[in-house]
Subunit: 600 residues, 2 copies
Amino acid sequence: MEATEKDILRGGQFLVKETSCEDIFTPEDFSEEQQMMKESVIEFNDREIIPNKARFEAKDYALTEECMRKAGEMGFLSVAVPEEYGGMGMGFVSTMLVCDYISSGTGSFSTAFGAHTGIGTMPITLYGTEEQKQKYVPKLASGEWFGAYCLTEPGAGSDANSGKTTAKLSDDGKHYIINGQKMWISNAGFCNLFIVFARIEDDKYITGFIVENNPENGITLGEEEHKLGIRASSTRQVFFNDTKVPVENMLSERGNGFKIAMNALNVGRIKLAAACLDSQRRITTTGVQYATERKQFKTPIAEFGAIKSKLAEMATNAYAGESACYRAAKNIEDRIAIRMAQGNSHQEAELKGVEEYAIECSILKVAVSEDVQSCADEGIQIFGGMGFSEETPMEAAWRDARIARIYEGTNEINRMLSVGMLVKKAMKGHVDLLGPAMAVKDELMGIPSFDMPDYSVLFSEEKEMIAKLKKVFLMVAGAAVQKYGPDLEKHQQLMMAASNILIEIYMAESTILRTEKNVKRFGEDKQKEQIAMAKLYLFNAVELVKKNGLEGIVSFADGDEQKAMLMGLKRFTKYANYPNVVELRNTIAEKVKAENKYCF
Amino acid sequence: MEATEKDILRGGQFLVKETSCEDIFTPEDFSEEQQMMKESVIEFNDREIIPNKARFEAKDYALTEECMRKAGEMGFLSVAVPEEYGGMGMGFVSTMLVCDYISSGTGSFSTAFGAHTGIGTMPITLYGTEEQKQKYVPKLASGEWFGAYCLTEPGAGSDANSGKTTAKLSDDGKHYIINGQKMWISNAGFCNLFIVFARIEDDKYITGFIVENNPENGITLGEEEHKLGIRASSTRQVFFNDTKVPVENMLSERGNGFKIAMNALNVGRIKLAAACLDSQRRITTTGVQYATERKQFKTPIAEFGAIKSKLAEMATNAYAGESACYRAAKNIEDRIAIRMAQGNSHQEAELKGVEEYAIECSILKVAVSEDVQSCADEGIQIFGGMGFSEETPMEAAWRDARIARIYEGTNEINRMLSVGMLVKKAMKGHVDLLGPAMAVKDELMGIPSFDMPDYSVLFSEEKEMIAKLKKVFLMVAGAAVQKYGPDLEKHQQLMMAASNILIEIYMAESTILRTEKNVKRFGEDKQKEQIAMAKLYLFNAVELVKKNGLEGIVSFADGDEQKAMLMGLKRFTKYANYPNVVELRNTIAEKVKAENKYCF
Ligand SMILES: Cc1cc2nc3c(=O)[nH]c(=O)nc-3n(C[C@H](O)[C@H](O)[C@H](O)COP(=O)(O)OP(=O)(O)OC[C@H]3O[C@@H](n4cnc5c(N)ncnc54)[C@H](O)[C@@H]3O)c2cc1C
Ligand SMILES: Cc1cc2nc3c(=O)[nH]c(=O)nc-3n(C[C@H](O)[C@H](O)[C@H](O)COP(=O)(O)OP(=O)(O)OC[C@H]3O[C@@H](n4cnc5c(N)ncnc54)[C@H](O)[C@@H]3O)c2cc1C
């Protein structure tokens, strides 16, 4: 069944439209081909990555390169690359799936993989000329060559367009001469090609270039950075000293670099989210296996409520992350297909398809990168003292997880982007927030409706809650926009609070919809624990919405306005029937214990 | 002014009694002697520890030992040791102060210091015979000898009494022969003396011994453990193989070891809390200094709301930690003095004095160890990519902080202890919880009182809130005890929720009382930011109480009981006038920025 324009939500629209569970894609919808791909990636990981954990931790950069080469042989580097350039041309969901399952073993390899296939290759497939693509992409897709992405500079991190690297046209007009210093460049130590961003003259925006790595062309590398985590990921400074780049190696047009950089990051973000999923699964599995074996007080620690609670929360967040990541991935895939059907080139379609869901990409990046951190944190805690030892896998997982909140745009930047982009979409009329925001305002003035759903129907209460959480966002963000207009961006603490609400809504809704869809196909019996996870995630989400909503309201509204909004917050975050949270957690934990692994 | 029995709260009583701000000790009450001690410790740290950070990170165990030796020369190891055994015999507050300020530079040294002066020396000063004290304590106090504490075994961590190490009386009755394996022993690599816990025959409880470190006496060490953090803290396994210990080296009586171990841990816990304070101060200082220098978007990042919010929260938690740690420390000091005045020996008085506040010790251990983790976490985030580099101090601070949630009893164990001990105290009639809990129940059935404090008086609202938060605890814990009786202990998730509430109450109340006391002496003008911190801490605390209260209520109460309690929760967590949280944070951050350091 082909998705049509009408069926699928536009980016950000999840906030104002109800999605029916049939309209979302879930990991249970993987095609046979995708299942096979998944298994093959897991098998690769189990064979090549996991057993070598100690070597990665010992900064064996060569091993990372070797594994990348092997991943190339398996075809994993080419999943997203169109067939005409030597790739498999698989869809976005498949791309995500590979990112997901290949990333569990160590953040070192995961980062190398992400930097190469994402920001190292994509700018060429997305913006390259036919010649550029013919020349470079097949090599990158096969793993004959590796790519790196040089955007960041010592003075230009979050403010990516402020770089000082220059590109000057040579006198004969045949080359650009690049000078500058790039920093934190993943894969720098073994790559054959850099995507480099540099400024031409006094251009407002930077320009992208494809630069082959040739030490005789003024390219030198700094020493390997010594880092908290992802120890075997090569990260170096790259210095360009009168590096000559043929004019035909400019990417897209002059001044288009910032756009390229940002679009590459959109893809990078959602893929990074996927890349934080399988570590959560593996950490949960390692955690439960330890907890069922380790005894204290003559009892396997997995029997203690304190530990069960951790296992349940870990599994739930992983499940929520999967639900939201694959939902968004399929939206992107469908959007690309629609655009192509409308006559867009593959390139254009892919670009616009991802850009459309930039809000979701930011949301996912933040949510899943934070979940993997807390998952690893609980993983350490389950292991007690052993969690602090380099002999067990938890501490490396914890250190590796830390980077995900920093790169591909810090979580602060992504939080602000998520709300900022939404507000812009609303202003442009791409998403109608104003109408629904006004409706909420009216609702608040009126008498509360006493219409109640039939609470005996599965998820009726939860869906009502989701609808109400959306009202909280509309109420808070709506009033903030009204008060500050475009200046809202300067009120970052409000932006952050609004973003926290937005994130929880997307994650919780995705989790519920996935579960609802699966209940319909597989039966409620088979989804008991998933139902518990959906309910638990929502319960936690509601608490976060309450807190962030309150923080926002008391900080920009006074007097009667504040009172009305507090009343609204209360009304919109109140369950008719509260779930028994302890029972939910126990249900989930018992399942994880019984299967002795993450099993959803 | 000497404290008398009547003036000071018993352990756990903070929950049911109102404390007036004059009755708490604050860091602003340090005596001249204490100030001098503080400065001398800071100076030592600045000279010996901070500049050597890189060496500590490179696992230079010898440096740790050398610094310990120097700390001995400065007298820092002898602060808590009575004068008759070569110590300074300073009070508990001074002991805390040294732990606090000596711990900022690196967790490696901090751990070595804590293990030696706390669990390595204290068991002898607290439980030793006169001969044992004469023989060992002066050497430990001067740093001629170092101590270590051998409780944990591979199979006995949280369940400390379950160790398999045995002590068998020799045929001639002159020695105990110790056999067993101890694990995770801090300072093992360079200590001269071990406090060892072992079981005699089939005793229910283990017994403590003083064991001199003599390789020819069957004592061997494992390799240094490779750890996530505190890299230069020596941590090894210790094997005892027919180790002969003279009978006169038994600590206290046979079977008294578990009690010794637990009491040593009580002191260890509150000192560990103190040991997590100065790193928070230093991280905050390093963070603000970076944030005012680092520019992105042509703006020092310290100007961004997202960063200001972090700085404010970091400072606030550090300030709250100080407030609560020194409040409890002085209670302990006073309690010891009272007991001595009543005729207890110094030893007995000290033991009972600390034991009295075991609840507070657990509370502080959990709260402050979690705060230092989030402080370091935000520290990394402020540094962006540089936070991930070993070249900047944040990543080591983050790794080092992680241990504090594991040792001296995991935070799970301490959470459960805090509530468990309180309930036991109530049962024993040492703290009257039942009366107040009944009063809350009655209040809930009655018509809400409309008596309002005069909100124009500083902290009137905040104190009302604290009183209400206490009611939440009494309501939730009271009902839980009523429902489950002594079985409550098995309902760990409830225990954890109750503990989270208890912790927030103690921390928030201490913060407000400290500030109130200082406002009275120094004037409101001079305490603007402290007032903001007290209010911000409370606001966050209320949110946590709401969440944990709700979780508890919906998980053990149904129907009308649930409704009534939810109503109570709402009533008891509602401000009459909400503070503007963003404004509070900005006030705090602006001060930290202006002083370019933690300055409270
Ligand atoms: C291991 C590693 C690998 C990397 N790989 C690559 C790579 O392959 N290619 C590449 O180009 N880059 C790479 N990076 C760089 C990475 O993308 C940047 O570190 C990141 O974008 C943050 O930039 P920064 O480090 O300059 O931090 P800054 O931008 O200086 O940020 C510091 C702090 O200020 C905050 N901040 C900044 N601006 C604002 C604002 N306007 N409002 C609110 N808060 C703000 C940030 O959120 C952060 O908390 C890598 C970094 C690391 C650590
Ligand atoms: C670096 C380092 C230094 C140390 N230094 C010393 C030292 O000098 N001397 C010494 O004797 N020990 C030392 N220890 C040991 C430390 O005290 C123990 O690691 C700690 O008490 C936890 O015990 P464990 O590691 O066996 O974890 P476990 O007890 O196995 O705990 C594993 C998990 O189960 C949980 N758990 C256990 N029991 C329960 C329960 N009843 N209910 C709910 N949850 C439970 C724990 O909270 C934890 O999450 C050190 C440890 C480390 C890592």
